[in-house]
């Protein structure tokens, strides 16, 4: 069996940044495994701009952002294998992958970094009565059709769900001459970034209907139209509000879930809130030597944070391979009132360098509320925020000194206090 110091699964921005960072920490025996025939992951189909503002201070398109890392990877001569699908990993870091030329490969890894990204919620998860004609696609699939394969999913389109991919596709298709009739969102607010609502919908006068959903799909072989209804506070359709909208395609932009089939095989504990692995401050999962970063860990809206997080995972995997020990007790981080989840979920204070970034999402829209960080139920940090929405990731930075001042710390809580909307 082959042995490799570090095996990285997935060559999206997370896998690429993790590899470069591990290399910079002195690890040379690195192998990246990618199932597609190109590097860069989902960025290849994201031809729009808006990537990298934080890291490079300019607005790059997806492919341009990816190429900054791909170029670096080839300069460093880091090894990768394309069209290679990882099918199994074990708790003991044994990796099984298949590739047409080499067949089944078994690799023992010193450390593994999971960077498989996320996938769209399947349409089965959606409860719409009516037949299942063709012409229903996830927004990401439609994005791949248009940007990578070069054909249009339809001529008259309704988009269900106001996630960012749906918004971006509304603009992209409009510019291709498609009639995008409306974007429907069942919640009373959009989960998309404000910038995308303005630049993808408002710019082209595409209506965004909040508190609306599709209640019936019409057509037998090909979709012919949908029934649209308004919903009440409990998200139940309000009788009498139904309208018929004709269309030849329906795009679903109903959210992303981390791709963790492999992680489950390795018995990595999954956080039910994020659908990604539970990790400590080193981004190490419940299995020693298996790390996770990027969208496989939790869905990010900014690629810059993906790269940043991945660099940290790469460094920590390098430390693991070099056998840097970490003694001391782990402190749990809890998502308190108003916080849906935090990443990481645990911290060993010894390993905190200058500060510990804690990223989280809130449970609903908060205005004029306070982010509260508590150490053993005592507030250590308060920050007032004019607005927080579930669609945008929030973060707090906990300086090293807070940990050194409290050697017996057991528990950290992040919660939201006070809300005008309440």
């Amino acid at each position: 069996m082959e042995y490799r110091d570090l095996v990285i699964i997935g060559a999206g921005p997370a896998g690429l940044a993790a590899a470069i960072s591990a290399y910079e920490q002195g690890i040379r025996d690195i192998l990246i495994l990618e199932r597609e025939n190109f590097l860069g992951g989902i960025l290849n189909q994201c031809v729009h701009n808006g990537f990298g503002l934080h890291t490079f201070h300019e607005e790059l398109t997806g492919p341009e952002y990816a190429s900054r890392y791909i170029d670096k990877l080839s300069d460093l001569k880091i090894e990768y294998m394309l069209e290679t699908m990882v099918i199994d990993i074990s708790e003991m870091r044994n990796v099984i992958a298949i590739n047409e030329k080499r067949g089944v490969m078994e690799i023992q890894a010193g450390a593994i970094i999971l960077a498989m990204g996320c996938r769209e919620r399947p349409r089965g998860a959606l409860n719409i009565p009516g037949s299942r004609p063709s012409g229903i696609y996830s927004a990401g699939t439609a994005q791949k059709f248009v940007n990578l394969d070069g054909y249009l999913p339809g001529r008259e389109i309704v988009i269900l769900g106001s996630g960012d991919i749906g918004l971006i596709m509304a603009r992209r298709l409009t510019l291709e001459g498609v009639n995008v009739k409306m974007v429907l969102e069942i919640l009373p607010y959009s989960s998309g970034l404000k910038r995308n609502i303005v630049q993808c919908l408002d710019d082209y006068d595409i209506p965004l209907k909040l508190s609306h959903t599709v209640t019936k799909i019409h057509g037998s072989e090909r979709i012919e139209g949908v029934t649209v209804s308004q919903v009440d506070e409990d998200l139940m359709p309000i009788p009498g509000t139904e309208t018929y909208v004709s269309c030849d395609a329906l795009l679903l932009s109903v959210g992303l879930i981390p791709e963790n089939e492999l992680s489950r095989k390795a018995n990595v504990t999954i956080n039910p809130k994020t659908q990604g692995p539970i990790v400590n401050e080193r981004l190490e999962t419940s299995r020693p030597g298996i790390f996770a970063c990027g969208n496989v860990l939790h869905v990010h809206d900014l690629v810059d944070y993906v790269s940043e997080e991945a660099a940290l995972a790469g460094k920590n995997a390098a430390d693991f391979i070099k056998n840097v020990s970490s003694e001391g007790l782990e402190v749990e981080i809890f998502a308190g009132d108003g916080v849906r989840y935090t990443v990481p979920n645990k911290v060993n204070p010894i390993n905190v360098e200058k500060y510990l970034p804690v990223r989280f999402r809130v449970t609903k829209v908060f205005s004029q509320a306070t982010v509260l960080v508590e150490f053993d139920n005592l507030p250590v940090h308060k920050k007032k925020k004019t607005i927080m929405t579930p669609g945008e990731m929030e973060q707090v930075f906990l300086p090293k000194s807070w940990f050194t001042e409290r050697p017996f710390l057991r528990k950290i809580t992040v919660r939201i206090e006070g809300d005008e909307n309440a």
């Binding site: 990578l148 070069g150 404000k194």
Partner: protein
């Protein structure tokens, strides 16, 4: 006198609803912003709104079927559709390097469509 215009500021998640109106002498009055970024944004949006256009076009003989492209600078918002018309039925031949000009001086703006990735020959 021009009619007043409603905008949403995109500079932070607050998303302030801005209203822009004009005095008889042509001065711009903005209301609804919570910080100065909103004021600047509103002025630019009513006086000279611009956008980057991104798209992708088919490649002949390429390793990939499509090449992604964008404008190398912003173009006036009102010219977006005209610029897109130029891409209709457009095809490019492989090989293409990132940064190559795909169409020069689009709609007389001095702005070019450039490739945002490289595509090798098949």
């Amino acid at each position: 006198m021009r009619e007043s215009q409603k905008l949403t500021c995109i500079n932070c998640p607050m998303g302030c609803e801005l209203e822009v109106s004009f005095t008889d002498s042509g001065e711009i009055i903005v209301s609804g912003y919570k910080c100065l970024k909103g004021l600047d944004y509103a002025k630019k949006e009513v006086m000279n709104p611009t956008r980057t256009i991104t798209s992708s076009v088919p490649v002949v003989d390429g390793e990939m079927a499509m090449v992604s492209i964008r404008t190398d600078r912003d173009v006036p918002k009102k010219l977006i559709r005209d610029c897109m018309m130029l891409l209709k039925d457009m095809k490019v031949n492989a090989p293409i390097s990132a940064g190559d000009i795909i169409i020069e001086n689009i709609c007389g703006t001095g702005v070019n469509f450039i490739a945002t990735r490289s595509v090798r020959k098949k």
